[in-house]
């Protein structure tokens, strides 16, 4: 037995950069690889030292915390966001770059990542929606100075949230207001802006603020976002620091502004129509574009923490009993420590698998946005050329393109020889078809990454903390696991808490084009399952069918009271389905990343050496995650499908509400005697649900091997070689 075990390749070392570069598809991007090293240097150097020194124990913005900003500037982290013409160094879209930097920083401390990202969040409205002049001015000013320049980089804050009872999850009701202060004939209007902010990141030091305000003047048509600067006349009060228990290396304040600014600060510009200032974009439009990008990065922060917990946990478990008198070197107690206990290993496997799946989901989403950005520009240009203006007209045009995209998927289902080749080529090469495909996916993957990575990630972080015992909830815990757990709760909250993401998903996941792609994935997973059954693809494909079936059922049936099930206010239906989808997406993308490693790994000599063992381990992890996702989905779907049906009442069945034990046994016996007729069960009704029941039974069967995979992954954890010490202080 031992001999056989030895022969099976297993994980030899923790996966290194070369493995990650393949899985997360940046093996050809040296700029990103360097950025990773650079951000890591800051994270495991100055950031880790501050955390270890206890600098998180103050709410104030201190000089030591401020020194991190300089470290970010010097290491090129601040300039990631800027285009080369504004002083940056990364060409093209920067979602993946930002995601990687956030991942590296939060590997050590989420607050450090937040501090660096909040500057980008402040710039994002200007970058995405600003006029050319605004964009160049603020992007340039925010870019760290090059050698020889004496200027100081300007830093920004993004102010949307307001004191209670105003803006929070709901961003519609703004108390922040803008009025015309002076408007002399032929001159630019001067506006009076009054805004109070709550929980505004970077506010302890920001030189400028991008603030959401509503109109309080008939001479201003709508709400807008507007740029406020510290030197503007009036009040620019940073307010008091928020007494937050998390992310203390970032600055958060409740500021107050009452300032006069020129109308040219309206983000995206304005026109004047009949004596009224008409902002080109209202605050809602801008916020939608901004958050479309930035939320993925937050999701990756929590994912990084889960993966960062693996090494300190293995080290802690292995060394737990060393140094004691009872366990000398060579004894199992000395060599394996707590790793002798199956539960410890199994739970760490769960933490690791969840971390991998969330990284796969997050990085896929980030790359997707990199692909989408240029296509979105092409779409804009197309609309301009075709003179398609206004939301409605554009929506109609996009719907037509969506139909084309669905047609493309249908064509691709057919065997190659049977396809209409001309039509296929036409659709395949259509930029707009590609745009709508990716856009529909982005609309699902972005909220999914934010929701699942941070929400489930926080739960799993708690698991990681508990695996460290009492140490886990001390400041001295190696890897800062306790802090990371608490921090994760903020990641689940800011930039839109879970409810916001669920709300968005409940709309975007029912899009026909998304569902067409989803069905395509089921077919692909079946093919994967026959090639690589060890990945759990089979169970996952069935769980996806179950989810789809349940979604359709919820959309087309009513509850026992006759009320519609799938509708926006019915969170009890839509939100769990959104959660279930996230499990599926994450597990699927993890499998795809491992298959990428299988394909590309052999051609990289440093990866090739340990590849068989690494793949065996990763496939086991995939299997564990797929099974976990499948059971989560099964649970949710069963609860929804049956939970909105009325329980057979006593007057219908002739039985009492409460069954005596022997009734129960009888019922079971009846059921056993006639398996073909489950409807004989007095507890539940299955009419019309045969397909669902069949899928569930199938799904149960397809869990085969998942626990064996877990055992095998657990076994690998006992053997993997880890470094002697963590590469950052504790």
């Amino acid at each position: 037995m031992q001999g056989q075990d030895e022969k099976k390749s297993t994980l030899r070392t923790l996966p290194g950069d070369d493995v990650r570069q393949i899985m997360w598809r940046f093996a050809e991007r040296f700029d990103l690889q360097m950025l990773v090293q650079s951000a890591r240097g800051v994270a495991r150097g100055p950031v880790a030292r501050l955390v270890a020194e206890g600098e998180r124990n103050t709410h104030e913005w201190t000089a030591k915390k401020a020194a991190l900003l300089t470290a970010f500037d010097e290491a090129g982290i601040t300039a990631i966001f800027m285009a080369p013409e504004d002083g940056g160094y990364i060409e093209g879209p920067k979602n993946m770059a930002l995601a990687l930097a956030a991942f590296e920083l939060s590997w050590v401390d989420g607050g450090a990542a937040t501090g660096s990202l909040a500057g980008n969040l402040a710039l994002s409205p200007i970058h995405e929606c600003g006029t050319n002049e605004q964009r160049h001015r603020y992007m340039k000013a925010a870019c760290p100075s090059q050698s020889g320049e004496s200027r100081r980089a300007r830093r920004g804050a993004f102010a949307l949230t307001e004191p209670i009872p105003f803006v929070g999850v709901d961003t519609g009701v703004l108390s922040g207001k803008v009025r015309v202060a002076e408007w002399q004939d032929g001159r630019e209007p001067i506006l009076q802006v009054d805004k109070r902010g709550r929980f505004i990141t970077n506010m302890g030091f920001a030189d400028f603020v991008t603030a959401a305000v509503d109109t309080d003047d008939p001479r201003i048509k709508s709400s807008c976002m507007i740029i406020l600067e510290e030197d503007d006349p009036g009040v620019y009060d940073r307010g008091v620091p928020t007494k937050k228990m998390v992310h203390q290396l970032s600055s958060t304040n409740d500021p107050v502004f009452s300032l006069k600014v020129p109308a040219s600060r309206i983000i995206g510009g304005y026109t004047i129509k009949d004596g009224v200032i008409v902002p080109n974009l209202n605050h809602g439009e801008i916020i939608e574009v901004v958050f479309g990008h930035t939320r993925v990065t937050v999701g990756l922060m929590t994912g990084a923490k889960l993966l960062s917990a693996v090494e300190p946990l293995i080290r802690y478990h292995r060394g737990r009993f060393r140094g004691g008198e009872t366990a000398g070197p060579g004894s199992p107690r000395y060599e394996f420590g707590l790793q002798q206990k199956e539960d410890v290993l199994h739970r760490l496997v769960d933490v690791w698998a969840a971390g991998e799946a969330s990284a796969s989901l997050g990085f896929t989403a980030a790359r997707l946005f990199d692909d989408l950005d240029p296509l979105a520009k092409a779409k804009k240009q197309f609309f301009a050329e075709q003179n398609i203006a206004g939301g409605r007209a554009q929506m109609r045009a996009l719907l037509k393109i969506q139909k084309d995209a669905v047609e493309l998927i249908e064509i691709e289902r057919q065997p190659e020889n049977d396809r209409d080749r001309k039509r296929h080529a036409e659709l395949k090469n259509d930029t707009l078809v590609r745009f709508v495909m990716l856009d529909t996916l982005a609309n699902v993957l972005c909220p999914a990454a934010k929701l699942w990575n941070t929400g489930h990630g926080t739960n799993m972080m708690r698991e990681a903390v508990s695996l460290m015992g009492g140490y886990g909830i001390t400041e001295d815990c190696p890897g800062f696991l306790g802090q990371k757990w608490m921090d994760a709760q903020l990641e689940a909250t800011y930039e839109g808490p879970e409810s916001v993401q669920r709300r968005q998903l409940s709309v975007t996941m029912t899009n026909d084009l998304f569902l067409a792609q989803f069905k395509q994935w089921i077919r692909e997973l079946r093919a994967i399952a026959s090639r690589r059954p060890g990945t759990g693809a089979c169970a996952l494909a069935t769980a996806m069918r179950l989810w789809l079936w349940t979604l359709e059922r919820m959309q087309t049936t009513r509850d026992a009271e006759g009320a519609k099930l799938y509708q926006s206010a019915r969170h009890g239906v839509t939100f769990p389905l959104a959660d279930a989808l996230c499990w599926l997406l994450a597990a699927r993308l993890f499998i795809l990343d491992v298959l990428e490693l299988e394909e590309k790994g052999p051609s990289n000599p440093t990866v090739a050496e340990g590849l068989p063992g690494l793949l065996a381990f990763y496939m086991d992890l995939c299997h564990v995650q797929a099974a976990r996702a499948a059971s989560e989905v099964a649970r949710i779907c069963a609860e929804l499908v049956f939970g909105y049906m009325r329980r057979p009442a006593s007057n219908e069945t002739g039985l009492d509400d409460c069954y005596a034990d022997d009734d129960l046994e009888e019922a079971n016996a009846a059921d056993n005697a006639d398996r073909q007729r489950p409807k004989a069960d007095p507890f539940a009704r299955f009419e019309g649900l045969e397909a669902f029941v069949r899928l569930r039974v199938l799904l149960d069967g397809r869990m085969s091997g998942a626990r064996l995979a877990k055992d095998s992954a657990a076994n690998a954890l006992t053997r993997v070689m880890i470094p002697e010490a963590l590469d950052y202080p504790a």
């Binding site: 090293q37 440093t606 050496e609 880890i722 010490a725």
Partner: protein, 270 residues
Amino acid sequence: MSVQYQIFVCGGIVPDPLQTLDPVTAPAGPALKNEMMLPAVLDPFAWHALFEAARLARSSPGSKIYLVSLAPKAKLQQVMMSVAQKAVFDLVVIDGPASGFTDSNAVAAALSEAIQSVPGLDMNRLLVFGGWESASRGSGTTLQAVGEILGITDQFQGVDDLRIESDGSFRILERIDGGKHQVSTCAGAPAVLGWATGNLPEPPNNPQIGMTNMRGIMPALQKARPAKLNAQDLSYTSVTLPKQQRETRVVDKLSAEEIAREIAEWIKKS
């Protein structure tokens, strides 16, 4: 007018010092367990030499740095992702084993051949930098042999400081026992300087410098020639790790003398 030096920094790669190093016997002789898979770094002594080279290049405008490395090129590529951010240099690669189990003479022959093959090499401007020893082999002989093969007789080992005097001569501090330094003066290039730790902090990473370097680094990696190291001449009878004994005690109020006394007692005891 200051001299425009050609500074060749010789540096191999070693497993990240935090990794577990476990000697094993491979078909080609001794090796470290999972060596190809462990994250690697530039040899720490060469690392310091590179920072010193960068300082010298800054103070002597027009100077050029070459980093000469004998290492498995795939592994070296990963290491370059951080090294390339520290200073502007041209990379010269010889593809071969980085392990400390190669013969330092054979390595020196390969390094000097690579230096000699660089077009426009000018002995009057040539400075060979590197570590006075390496973190893998630790024999302290490679750089000396490189100098000898190149015919450079002005050699300094354990260097902590190099200053260029107004007449262009070098003032060099070499480490000797007791925390003291030997001060030497040298007329100028060519010279070999085997660095100890120097006295510069690690410069921050700068991806912008990195991206500039990468334009030359990738072609250099692609055209790297395989090293001809005569492995047959060498055999190892046994390989073990130095025995390590760790005992940690956190103190914050002890004087240096008290700490020294405690350490001395501990050493005597063990």
